[in-house]
């Protein structure tokens, strides 16, 4: 039944404009990234290298914003518009319903991330050619906190696998953040409220990460820097494991809390 619920949610999302607007905005951000790198840093990345920059900088920074909007749409709007009742009064448990909807968010997040990745490969190849290897620029290493390394090159196959695994791992980290927002969405019955507070929570994560400790595992956002850099041998495996455990902990704690709350929620809308 959870599979059917997930299919229903993905069908509804496909039929709405939000998905296409988000995909378009993310695409536009990739183009802006190419133009700004070229204008400000004088860097022209090849088709193999641009995706890693996009994963580390754009997918990491902007996707959580859209996750907040998707959760507000899938959970809060469904409740406040009264359409959630249509599913509740069918032979579906609340646990199945909640998890089915959350898995739909997971599939959606991964799909958009993959779409951006493929777009980055295409745009990078058009603007800078395919190239012979992946070049990880020094500014990316510096912004991740690993200075004085200079740029690093990685062989094509290794680089592509590294980039794809980075997206998958980043999606996983983003779902930890999504679980936090899910709990919020179940507590607040207003879409504007969920989006507003959700963005505020995101901002707190970002600011805390910047001010307190860039690599402190309690901050979910921007974990990908470390994950991406693991294969380059400049990061210890322990650090990545701690970050993944953090993401799992966020996911488990907030999903469990959401399930408990949703099971007891009185549906009066």
């Amino acid at each position: 039944m959870m599979w059917n619920i997930m299919q229903n949610e993905l069908f509804k999302i496909r039929k709405q404009k939000t998905l296409y607007v988000v995909a378009f905005i993310m695409l536009a951000l990739v183009v802006v990234r190419v133009l700004s790198l070229s204008a400000e840093e004088g860097i022209s990345l090849n088709g193999q290298s641009l995706p890693m920059v996009v994963v580390c900088m754009d997918i990491t920074q902007y996707m959580p914003l859209f996750i907040v909007i998707f959760i507000a749409n899938v959970f809060t709007e469904d409740y406040s518009a009264g359409t959630l009742k249509l599913s509740i009064i069918r032979p579906v448990t609340r646990l199945e319903l909640l998890l089915g909807k959350f898995f739909a968010i997971a599939v959606l997040t991964l799909s958009i991330n993959m779409f951006i990745l493929i777009s980055a490969y295409v745009i990078g190849t058009i603007t800078g050619g395919w190239g012979s290897c992946i070049v990880i620029p020094s500014f990316l290493l510096e912004s991740a906190g690993y200075s004085s390394q200079g740029e690093i090159t990685v062989a094509t196959i290794t680089g592509i696998l590294m980039t794809i695994s980075s997206v998958i791992l980043e999606t996983f980290v983003q779902l930890g953040f999504a679980a936090v927002i899910l709990l919020l969405a179940l507590c607040i019955n207003s879409i504007v409220g969920v989006i507003g507070i959700g963005l505020f929570i995101y901002a707190i994560f970002l600011v805390a990460m910047q001010i307190l400790a860039k690599h402190n595992p309690i901050y979910l956002i921007s974990s990908t820097y470390d994950i991406c850099l693991l294969p380059l041998g400049i990061l210890e495996i322990n650090s990545v494991i701690i970050k993944l455990i953090t993401a799992v902990a966020y996911l488990a704690v907030f999903l469990l809390a959401s399930c408990t709350l949703f099971k007891k929620k009185e549906l009066v809308a």
């Binding site: 619920i5 229903n8 039929k15 359409t83 009742k85 509740i88 009064i89 448990t93 009185e266």
Partner: protein
């Protein structure tokens, strides 16, 4: 006859106030059961509890022997419902909306969506987006989604709410047809007592969450005394006389005359009394007994 639904001792508290208070009802197969009560009487809260939308503070609900608490999936499989205004995904067509619900209903026939669209008369418009539908069409779509699982019991909360007279008649006729031709059992909550009187064979009236009366409509109306409107040129004299008459149980002054409730068969005596006392009677109009009058009598006044 076997009961489709058994509600026993249903209670719900909000802020320590009992909004549903030890309510017990039983609905038999084939009943079209009217669920009446003034605003705030606890009708929608009761329906929400019956559907598992809100928790029961105490009591039990069984449908075909399945308990809402222990056999929720089997329990809810037997119900089709509209709670308050039917809401759908406006950006989807009626067909897509029904298909989504069908996906959550195990064992549903492949062509069931088309079947229910035909039953409610939405064929030809099923591919249009729901946001383009009138309220009447949305109500019909609501009934279609309730019929989808071919349930033992249909619960319709205010199914004619907000509709124009034509729309009301359409929904009323549809419910009658579904009950007569398909044998569905209904619980219908409504403010429109005229509708309930026309559609339902049994009613229950609740007030402040408590059951006030549960009876067959036929019996309710038969046990009532006669109501007669008297139009006279000597209204004051007539009122004085009738107030002292043992046959008159209730008297109300209205714009055109007097409305009296009398024991059955006593009208002749009343008229004779009026004439003997030289009261000039213009008209004597027998009034049809209605559920509305009984409702006001039992709930203590007009609805809010």
């Amino acid at each position: 006859m076997e009961s489709v639904i058994e509600v026993n001792g249903l209670t719900k508290l909000y802020n320590r106030v009992k909004v549903v208070d030890n309510l017990s009802i039983s609905i038999k197969k084939g009943d079209v059961y009217g669920f009446l009560g003034p605003n705030g009487a606890g009708k929608t809260t009761t329906i929400r509890m019956m559907l598992g939308l809100i928790a029961l503070d105490s009591g039990s609900v069984y449908i075909n022997g399945k308990n809402i608490k222990n056999d929720y999936k089997d329990f809810i499989s037997n119900i089709g419902a509209i709670v308050e205004t039917p809401t759908f995904y406006g950006y989807l067509s009626a067909y897509d909306n029904l298909q989504l619900i069908a996906n959550l209903t195990p064992g549903i026939k492949k062509n069931r969506v088309e079947e229910v669209i035909e039953i409610v008369g939405l064929e030809g418009r099923e591919r249009d987006k729901v946001k383009t539908y009138s309220l009447g069409m949305k109500q019909r779509l609501g009934i279609a989604q309730a019929l989808l699982p071919n349930p033992s019991l249909l619960i319709l909360d205010e199914p004619t709410n907000g509709l124009d007279p034509h729309g009301m008649k359409e929904i009323r006729d549809m419910i009658k047809r579904l009950a007569e031709d398909h044998g569905y059992t209904f619980i219908i909550s409504s403010h429109i007592l005229h509708d309930i009187q026309q559609i339902c064979n049994r009613v229950c009236i609740i007030k402040k969450g408590k059951l006030v009366k549960e009876e067959y409509v036929e019996n309710l109306l038969a046990q009532k005394a006669e109501i007669v409107e008297i139009q006279t040129l000597d209204k004051k004299l007539a009122i004085d006389l009738l107030m002292n008459s043992a046959s008159v149980s209730k008297l109300k002054e209205i714009e055109k005359g007097i409305l009296i409730t009398i024991e059955s068969g006593m009208l002749e005596v009343i008229i004779e009394d009026l004439i003997l006392n030289h009261i000039r009677v213009k008209y004597v109009l027998p009034k049809e007994n209605s559920l509305e009058e009984l409702f006001f009598e039992l709930t203590g006044g007009k609805e809010e």
